[in-house]
Amino acid sequence: MTAPATGSQTEGGRQYVTFFLNDEAYAIDALAVQEIIELGAITKVPHLPDFFKGVINLRGTIIPVIDLKRKFAMSSDEYKRHTCVVVTEVETRIMGLIVDAVSDVLHIAEESVSDTPSFGARVDTAFMKGMAKVDTALVIILDINKILSETDTMALAELQGGGGVEHCSPGADEERRALQA
């Protein structure tokens, strides 16, 4: 069977879990999503950047959760009624993402995904894989690997600079240091 390169219906795309951050729609690869849970009590972990909300108990396993709206420095970062945690797993590394309302599981065809346009310096597109038009809405596809690997480099910085000078007495310094990390 020598199938034509284009035109196959289902093979040319992927399933995505879509969710909202404020009014914008985002999507991540459904294969990376382990489950979606209610936002429960979070234990703050010191020294980490503020988008890193802390750790939670996921049925006896401790996993970190990050706040995507903070990570993307979006204007309002309060939690809403439907705020929940999307638990993602990539290569045995589990992480929770705090999002406003999970909306759907969608199939997005490969050809409807376009590259992220360059916004210049104002928008950080490092975590975006591309954009897709679903019906009339625009969905931004996130690269979960990039988000995870960034926490890795953070960990490295923490190990090397762990207990640096910024620890000195006034407690407020911690916040600044954490932000710099």
Partner: protein, 728 residues
């Protein structure tokens, strides 16, 4: 299909254990060469490896171990004496088997030609007998005559080409092979299936296969032929006696010969001219012999470094422990059904009374049922606890498993350092969590190397100091309370206070000579654990590069353990490693800081107290100290360190937890104590960055995560801060 991967895994596990037996046995044999029982143990170990590797088709290993076994057999029959050189040869062979097994484990290909030189030497040993010059390396043994013993076992190659009608005559070829086994050892069977036709032309009653059988026996050739008596008609049976070399080397060379590509003499000559790579390089003037020696020594070190990796990821459990666990689980099942019964009885007790509803006796009759439930519950609680303890004990392994591996390390390093060192081991039955045991191996290697390299003097130095020329290292383990101590004690020259101070001065760690004089021995000793610190006069390749001791300390602290040094100049050094019994469950003190619960391992807490208003002083407006019974301890405000807003700004309204670290005491300021409980230590998830002052987390009874503080990490951070401040 057979799951080979699984088979291989089981094989590797078992083989690694047998290899350890081999190694330990050989080392013991060196001490008592006449011990027949020991020899039997070694023989059995080799035999088991041979058997199990042969079974799953790892013929290279089987063949190699077979050669080993033959030589061992010669020793059992006193035709060969286990002298130092024989033992060394065997240790080398053991290493090679280990490498082969590791290749099986990593699914990589082992270059089998590396075995041939060793096999030749072993063959030479067996044939040459004790003390002969044949044990010199790289002199291939005389292939021909097994002159000595009359009842000499001989090897045969039996080519068995059965007639196609064998089955129809009611003969099963496997019976013939079984019969052969009665006469000797069937070392190897190769079946040739090239004559099997395509399925469409295949007659199921015809036999298309022929066999090559490598057979070893002391029986006469005629007796062997007799086995095939009934099949001789119509079959082709060729029995060729093999020379020892041929029997053991169906390797590349012989295969080439068999294929007709080269003549046997060519292979023989090639083997003779084959030298070790190093020797060739020396000959060509590419390297000097001393360089070669150095590199070879390094290679040996690599081998010892792989000690750690040889602990497998599965665990062997004492059957009694399992039986005990099964018993308790049985008990739990019984209590479970009793519970069920008691619960069923409750409505009966409630409704069973005549009169039904509104009967005043109803509530009263519930009481005994509830009491019974309470009794059952307490029983369940007890069983639950026992199950927990028993399950934890499954992870416990005797330290001897690791200890005995060091015999080899000491033997080889002491030879290469020209020192005479004896390793004494005690307390090998002490049990330690498998996870702890795995992580402690590397630090122990470092400590033992240090003792050999820096601790123990050369025989001449020892003699000059009035000591026995033979130094000793005592490796011991014992349990005390909820901790296990592992000690490495040498009777060498001890640590020199002056040397350490000099070095500390050079590194800028101690600048004030007066302060240096006041330092306790313990404080001085603890400096050798600083990164980059080494007191060795010259850098040797064993240790002395200043890496090692700081790694040792870090590894041990990661296990919630401590390292302590005791040293007496001229008498020796003892390094004790204190380890928790298990990693998984620790006793924790729960404290509140800024409304958040944190856990401090109780093993690190000396005491806790509320200081008086006058007990807390600031120094140059920066550092704070707290007075505890006349001593001033540095006060670490955990809220500031962790970046939390505390509820208690004033230390005299808060609690100070005293902890000791590297011989110094520190006060940790927390808001309040919230209790004490056993906690299960967990990591914060693989995607969470590692933070120096947090050791991990645990889940409290209310389902929330509480962070466990890393006390050594906290103290190190606060030290760095004060060092930084004093520099400004």
């Amino acid at each position: 299909m057979v799951d080979f991967k699984k088979l291989y895994t089981i094989f590797v596990e078992e083989a690694m254990e047998r290899i350890a037996d081999l190694e330990n046995g050989l080392l013991e044999l060196e001490q008592s060469p006449q011990d027949k029982e020991l020899l039997n143990t070694i023989f059995r170990a080799a035999h088991t490896i041979k058997g199990s590797s042969g079974t799953i088709g790892l013929t290279d290993i089987a063949r190699f171990t077979h050669t080993m076994e033959e030589v061992l057999d010669a020793m059992r029959h006193d035709t060969l004496v286990a002298d130092k050189e024989v033992i060394s040869l065997f240790l080398e062979a053991t290493d090679l088997i280990k490498e082969m097994v590791e290749c099986v484990a990593s699914e990589s290909v082992f270059d089998i030609s590396r075995c041939s030189a060793l096999m030749t030497r072993m063959e030479a040993l067996r044939e040459g007998g004790a003390g002969s010059s044949a044990i010199l390396p790289d002199v291939p043994g005389d292939a021909a005559a097994p002159a000595g013993c009359p009842a000499q076992e001989r090897s045969y190659l039996i080519k068995f080409i059965p007639g196609p009608d064998l089955f129809r005559r009611g003969i099963d070829p496997s019976i013939l092979i079984d019969e052969l086994r009665g006469l000797g050892i069937v070392a190897h069977i190769k079946a040739y299936t090239d004559a099997v036709p395509p399925l469409s032309e295949l007659d199921p009653e015809d036999l298309y296969v022929r066999w090559d059988i490598h057979f070893k026996s002391s029986a006469a050739e005629a007796d062997i032929r007799k086995v095939f008596e009934f099949v001789e008609e119509g079959s082709d049976i060729r029995i060729t006696p093999l020379t020892a070399r041929e029997a053991e080397f169906p390797f590349l060379g012989q295969m080439l010969v068999r294929e007709g590509a080269v003549k046997p003499e060519d292979v023989e000559n090639a083997l003779k001219s084959q030298k070790k790579l190093g020797e060739i390089l020396v000959e060509k003037g590419k390297i000097t012999p001393t360089d070669l020696e150095r590199v070879v020594e390094q290679q040996n070190h690599k081998k010892t470094e792989s000690l750690k990796s040889s602990i497998s990821s599965t665990i062997r459990v004492d059957l009694r422990k399992l039986d005990h666990l099964i018993n308790i689980v049985g008990e739990m099942v019984i209590i479970h059904s009793m519970f069920q019964q008691a619960l069923q009885d409750i409505p009966a007790a409630g409704n069973g009374a005549p009169g039904g509803n509104g009967d005043p006796g109803q509530a009263g009759s519930l009481v005994p049922a509830l009491q019974e439930l309470e009794v059952l519950f307490s029983q369940l609680h007890r069983v639950g606890r026992e199950i927990q303890e028993s399950t934890m004990s499954l992870r416990m392994l005797p330290v001897g498993e690791v200890f005995h591996r060091f015999t080899r390390l000491v033997r080889e390093l002491s030879v290469s350092k020209n020192k005479q060192i004896e390793l004494a081991i005690s307390g090998e039955e002490t049990e330690l969590d498998k996870g702890v045991l795995e992580k402690i191996t590397d630090p122990l290697v470092h400590l033992i190397r240090n003792a050999i390299d820096h601790g123990i003097e050369t025989p001449e130095e020892r003699a000059a100091a009035g000591k026995t020329p033979k130094g000793s290292i005592h490796l011991s383990a014992f349990q005390m309370g909820d901790a296990v101590f592992i000690e490495v004690a040498d009777d060498g020259k001890g640590l020199s206070r002056e040397k350490i101070l000099k070095k500390a001065h050079a590194m800028g760690l101690v600048t004030d000579p007066a302060a240096a004089r006041e330092m306790t021995d313990e404080q001085i000793c603890s400096m050798i654990f600083l990164p980059g610190f080494s007191t060795a006069d010259k850098v040797s390749d064993v240790s002395g590069r200043g890496v090692g001791m700081d790694v040792v300390k870090r590894n041990i602290e990661e296990l919630n353990g401590r390292v302590l040094i005791h040293t007496k100049p001229g008498e020796g050094t003892t390094i004790s490693v204190k380890l928790p019994l298990t990693l998984a469950i620790i006793d924790g003190l729960i404290v509140q800081i800024g409304g958040e619960p944190f856990v401090i391992p109780i093993s690190l807490v000396v005491e806790s107290l509320r200081p008086g208003r006058d007990d807390v002083k600031t120094l140059t407006e920066r550092g704070e100290v707290v007075a505890v019974r006349g001593d001033y301890l540095p006060l670490i405000r955990l809220d500031r360190l962790l970046g939390i807003t505390s509820r208690q700004e004033r230390p005299w309204e808060a609690i100070v937890i005293i902890t000791a670290y590297e011989g110094k005491r520190y006060g940790l300021l927390v808001d309040e104590l919230a209790g004490q409980q056993q906690i299960v230590l967990k990591n914060l998830g693989t995607a969470t960055p590692r933070i120096k002052d947090i050791a991990g987390g645990t889940i409290l009874g209310n389902g929330r995560v509480a962070l466990v503080l890393d006390v050594p990490g906290i103290i190190e951070i606060s030290r760095e801060i004060s060092r930084e401040l004093s520099r400004r």
